[in-house]
């Protein structure tokens, strides 16, 4: 498991480096996630070397963002004074994303498989 954590920290560090190189456009942790995914896909890292550590971290992920959410204690005024905007954004954009993703995938999938079927 220590080996797994080493790999994860290594990719976290590499991610931070990439983040710096691209002018901090994307957070280092997200770059690290993409790099780890690529390294596994390209078989530079064996899945069994990281699986235990990765699962230990992702299984209890909700715990790690508890402290960050406590900040709401300080920011609740923002929540109260902007609740109309916050509610509008949450409802409208959530509906939009569900519809766009669902409809796009289904239509495109049907179209592509029909084309494939026609060629055969």
């Amino acid at each position: 498991m220590i080996k797994g954590f080493c790999y994860i920290m290594l990719f976290y560090v590499l991610g931070e480096m990439v983040s710096l190189l691209i002018g901090k456009l994307i957070p280092g942790s997200v770059c690290g996630m993409i790099l780890l995914f690529l390294a596994l896909t390209l078989k530079w890292v064996r899945p069994r070397d990281v699986d235990k550590a990765a699962s230990a971290l992702t299984r209890n992920m909700a715990l790690f963002f508890v402290p960050a959410s406590i900040g709401l204690m300080h920011e609740y005024k923002i929540l109260m004074s902007n609740w109309v905007v916050l509610l509008t954004v949450s409802v409208v954009t959530t509906l939009l994303v569900i519809v766009v993703v669902g409809v796009t995938e289904e239509r495109l999938d049907r179209k592509l498989s029909r084309r494939k079927g026609g060629a055969a």
């Binding site: 954590f5 994860i8 920290m9 990719f11 976290y12 994307i26 957070p27 280092g28 942790s29 997200v30 690290g32 996630m33 790099l35 780890l36 995914f37 896909t41 899945p47 990281v50 990765a54 699962s55 971290l57 992702t58 992920m61 909700a62 715990l63 790690f64 963002f65 508890v66 402290p67 960050a68 959410s69 406590i70 709401l72 204690m73 300080h74 920011e75 923002i78 929540l79 902007n82 109309v84 905007v85 916050l86 954004v89 949450s90 409208v92 954009t93 959530t94 509906l95 939009l96 994303v97 569900i98 519809v99 993703v101 669902g102 409809v103 796009t104 995938e105 289904e106 495109l108 999938d109």
Partner: protein, 231 residues
């Protein structure tokens, strides 16, 4: 003397772990999405901090060990993504296009509504990653000078909403394929959408899990683009 104990790191770690554990237990007993460990822990911790008169800065210092693990857990999501990518073999184009379209629509609609309603830049930055799983959303929000705690709450709210109304909305739009339904739930409502997708079926659940990671990557890549385009 008690004050010294209450402000110590071990006590604060105990407070966070204990509250989270209580949230998990409650969630196991009562399967109600609103009793999510995060929400229960938040209420318990805020209540206890007020009651024991522990100030916010002391709490942050004490819990920094737990907060730090957020970064590595985002990196670890790369492994989860690798494990799940198999699910869409042969459907790469429609799946990726759909998530990409969803990501664009999600970010543009947030920026547009915020513009029209005239809110603070910091609020817009906090809302942009609202369809993404909370750890990534917090990192993105922090990164673009948003308010991470506001992001956490809104993302949670959107997930709850998406999980509850998602299947009905998809029925309305005549989206029947299991892949499309799972993908839509995971993209819009992250973990809470996946919890609902698993109830719909194994295919929906698996695809939805993958959608969480894909939406995280796509949104992370798109936010800087739109921040530059629309400013």
């Amino acid at each position: 003397m008690m004050n010294e104990i209450f402000s110590s790191t071990p006590f604060i770690l105990l407070l966070v772990l204990g509250s989270y554990l209580a949230g998990c237990k409650l969630h196991q007993k009562k399967h109600i999405a609103l009793f999510h460990p995060l929400l229960v822990a938040m209420i318990l911790i805020i209540g206890l901090l007020t009651l024991l008169d522990i100030d916010y800065d002391t709490f942050c210092a004490g819990s920094s060990f737990i907060s730090f693990l957020l970064g590595p857990s985002v990196v670890a999501l790369g492994y989860a993504l690798y494990e799940q990518i198999e699910q869409i073999r042969g459907k790469e184009i429609p799946v990726l296009t759909a998530v990409f379209a969803g990501g664009i629509v999600g970010i543009v609609s947030v920026i547009a509504i915020c513009r029209v309603m005239g809110v603070d830049e910091a609020i817009t930055s906090s809302l942009q990653p609202k369809s993404v799983t909370i750890p990534i959303a917090i990192s993105l929000s922090e990164h673009s000078h948003g308010i991470p705690s506001l992001t956490a709450v809104i993302v949670f709210g959107c997930g709850l909403l998406g999980g509850i109304i998602g299947p009905a909305v998809l029925d309305r739009c005549h989206v029947n394929s299991r892949v499309a339904r799972g993908l839509a739930l995971g993209s819009a409502a992250h973990g809470l959408g996946t919890a609902r997708a698993i109830e719909l079926g194994a295919v929906e659940g698996a695809i939805s899990g993958l959608a969480i990671g894909l939406m995280g990557v796509v949104t992370s890549l798109l936010i800087p683009v739109f921040e530059n385009l629309m400013r």
